[in-house]
Amino acid sequence: MRKGYITGPVLGALWMVVIATTIAVTMSFATGAAFRPQVLLSLIWGAVAGLVYVRFPARHAPARLGVAALLGLSCLTGFGPVLIGSETTLLALLVTVISVAVVMHVSLAAILKELPFAELTRHEYEDAVIRFCTGFGYIFFTAIVIIPFYVMVMTSLKSQQALLQNPLDFSVDLSQGMALFRSYTELFRDFNFGSYLLTSFYVSVLTVFITLLFSVPGAYAVARFRFQGQKAFSRSILLIYMVPMIVLALPIYIAFSLTGLRNSILGIVMIYPVTTIPVALYMLQGYFRGLPTEVEEAGLMDGLSRLAVIWKITLPLSLPALASVSLYVFMIAWNEFLLAFMLLDDPSKFTLTRGVTMLNSSEIPRQHLMAGAVIATVPIMALFLGLERFMTKGLTAGSVKG
């Protein structure tokens, strides 16, 4: 196995399958036309390419360029790695041919870098395999993450007929201008989504505030004070993580039905923070422990009371942690589905997630549902991308309820 003339063709063959599939899927999703990877032919083509690339080690050796060009052009004949349907536009054809040639050349050269033709050392062999796996990993993960979101956004811009006619055709007709966003305008006009957006927003913000109000003193007490039951307490916080929401939701549903809190925003605002307080408390106490006690002791010596110390010294020092916790709690409240689904029936009081659930019916076209999904996703994504550093820290620190 550890011979250059074996490793090269094997990796080349496998890599060709990966590239052919990737390009076929990408082109299908982009144009809606028929592209098909041909596995057997890809294996043969890739093996040939691998052999050539190992035999001619110069980075841009003419033989390498020649075989890459041949790979691309072979797609036109029907015997290439990618089979192209007959109704494809010239532009798509060109893009496919060029991308097969260029991508293959660049990536194969990188994977088989410095791989001698004959005997390989263990290092050379494993490095080549690792480079292959890395390339595959990037393509694979990027594809599985991007495709669903791409489909979500693109479906929301299409009409029902177009969707049923060719589910793969995601090309958008930009000439229709604002009519492109008709699903969105209909959601905001006929389905009251503006008010759901507002409700979700202020419920989430209130949840963040109440959570901080409760958890900051609690976390401080757990982190700084010595008292009986401190250990037991910080452990039982973790236990609360383990109770499934549906088990709690059932009695809460009964209690709210009996007291008339069901179908009220007040009820939701009462419940949401309690589900986030333990997480927030756990995250904050970890951070507070890491703060130097000397600063606080200095404050105490200068005559501040404990509460003043928390307010004037600890909190300003822990602003980054508070930001992380707030973002994380906001995300939980914004994405919360189960409680909103069980406790809210009145369409005038829906949160966004509850509103989107309402769209999941056979009478409402799919693009409306996807438009709703986009509306629910965009704010949290924008927040996430803007404040990614805090968010990532928050996610890691809280060991996160999911």
């Binding site: 990993g137 995601f170 007490a221 757990v222 088990v247 709690l248 999904a373 986009v374």
Partner: protein
């Protein structure tokens, strides 16, 4: 001569500190016990009771008032019935004010007429019992207006029945129903499959993704952010996107499969028996690999690089470094993640509920709680399933605390 001894017991300062600590913790403790501890006790209580969705409204007397007869033979009629067929209601009374200008005739027991005020005391009303009160009346003027006038004044009724929730009768009927038949073991099997494969899959994928990103290059932050998308997006959005993507009629995934010649006809991914369960497990892996990825990456970046340098000097190959250095270092976080994710996947409800609604062989224990309580509208049975879940969780947490406290000192 008295010898100096160190003070024993807690001093005033320590006491004050403890008091302040509890004061600061009090809001959290109170709210959490109201919303977590109390419901947990409630659900255990309910699981031993025959409690259905309709019992949410306790039995109550229902009254209807109408004007009957015509001409001289006019009478006001009150019909009273018990809303429940089974349970008696105590202390049932009815009071109403007859409109002005109405002259009532003789009033029979159990009613008393005082001026225009009517008061009837029925005592107890058996389950399904009906009562009828007739009061002959006289009235001058337009009969149509009279009818409106009579029915405009709402009679008030009092009386309360026993709520199933508060009595002290218990039965094991719910548990018998839950454990009866093959269904339960099927549900348990589905839950275990989903939990075990979902957890392991997410861990392996997370480990793979972390290995990819465990080197610094331009755009690393961007890709890390991108790979977190599935976890950060609302479950409702991604679940419905998957349903749309894999729809047998208008789904792109099916169109792609057919076009690539991998399948001759569209596959109903979320509707066929073994496939639906595999698909929800794949969704679980897809949605939660970012979490494992984030933790594993954080741990990887904190491994001391000098160890790898030493290995390089000794001529270790990349695979050897991975298996002999990285994996042992990561074992701690991997086992913590496995236990946590195992429990959370076991508890997962939203994902399956949104993807399949628990149909096509994807009903897990948590979905079964909802299914029993709301689809079959038997809250008691749902509570019994919930208690079964709690039992499993208690068992898990024993394992959890034995391992975790040793491993990462959480």
């Amino acid at each position: 001569m008295s010898s100096a001894t160190p003070p024993t017991g807690t001093g005033a300062l320590a006491k004050r500190e403890a008091r302040l600590a509890w004061t600061l913790l009090a809001p959290t403790i109170i709210s959490v016990s109201l919303v977590v501890i109390l419901p947990l006790l409630a659900i255990i209580w309910i699981s031993f009771k025959p409690f259905t969705l309709s019992d949410l409204r306790p039995p109550a007397p229902i009254v209807r008032e109408s004007l009957r007869g015509s001409g001289d033979d006019l009478r006001i009629e009150y019909r009273l019935r018990n809303s429940s067929q089974e349970f008696a209601i105590d202390g049932v009374t009815l009071s109403d004010v007859l409109p002005d200008g109405v002259i009532a005739g003789e009033v029979a027991a159990p009613c008393i007429l005082d001026g225009q005020d009517l008061f009837c005391d029925f005592g107890a009303l058996e389950g399904g019992q009906r009562e009828r009160i007739r009061i002959p009346v006289e009235f001058d003027g337009d009969p149509d207006a009279f009818e409106e006038l009579v029915e405009a004044s709402e009679p008030r009724v009092t009386g309360s029945g026993p709520s199933v929730l508060t009595n002290f009768e218990f039965s094991l009927e719910n548990f018998a129903r839950v454990f009866d038949g093959d269904e339960f073991w099927g549900v348990l099997g589905v839950t275990l499959f989903y939990t075990v494969f979902g957890t392991i899959g997410a861990l392996v994928m997370g480990l793979f993704a972390a290995l990819l990103l465990n080197k610094s290059f331009k755009g690393q932050g961007f890709i890390r952010g991108l790979y977190l998308f599935p976890y950060v997006a609302p479950v409702i959005a991604v679940a419905f996107t998957w349903v749309t993507l894999f729809d047998p009629f208008s789904g792109s995934a099916n169109a792609l499969l057919v076009q690539m010649g991998l399948s001759s006809e569209p596959i109903n991914f979320f509707g066929e028996r073994p496939l639906a369960l595999i698909m929800v497990t794949v969704f679980e892996i897809w949605r939660y690999f970012p979490l494992s990825f984030l933790f594993i990456l954080a741990r990887m970046q904190s491994i001391d690089s000098s160890m790898y340098e030493a290995a390089d000097m000794d001529g270790a190959s990349p695979f050897q470094k991975f298996w002999l250095l990285s994996i042992p270092q990561l074992l701690g976080i991997l086992s913590v993640l496995f236990l946590l994710r195992f429990i959370w996947t076991f508890n997962k409800f939203d994902d399956i509920f949104l993807l399949t609604g628990g149909n096509a062989g994807t009903r897990t224990l948590t979905v079964n709680v909802y299914e029993q309580a709301f689809a079959v509208s038997n809250i008691g049975a749902g509570a019994a399933v919930a208690v079964v879940i709690l039992m499993c969780l208690i068992a898990f947490s024993f394992v959890f605390f034995r391992f975790i406290s040793r491993e990462e000192g959480l």
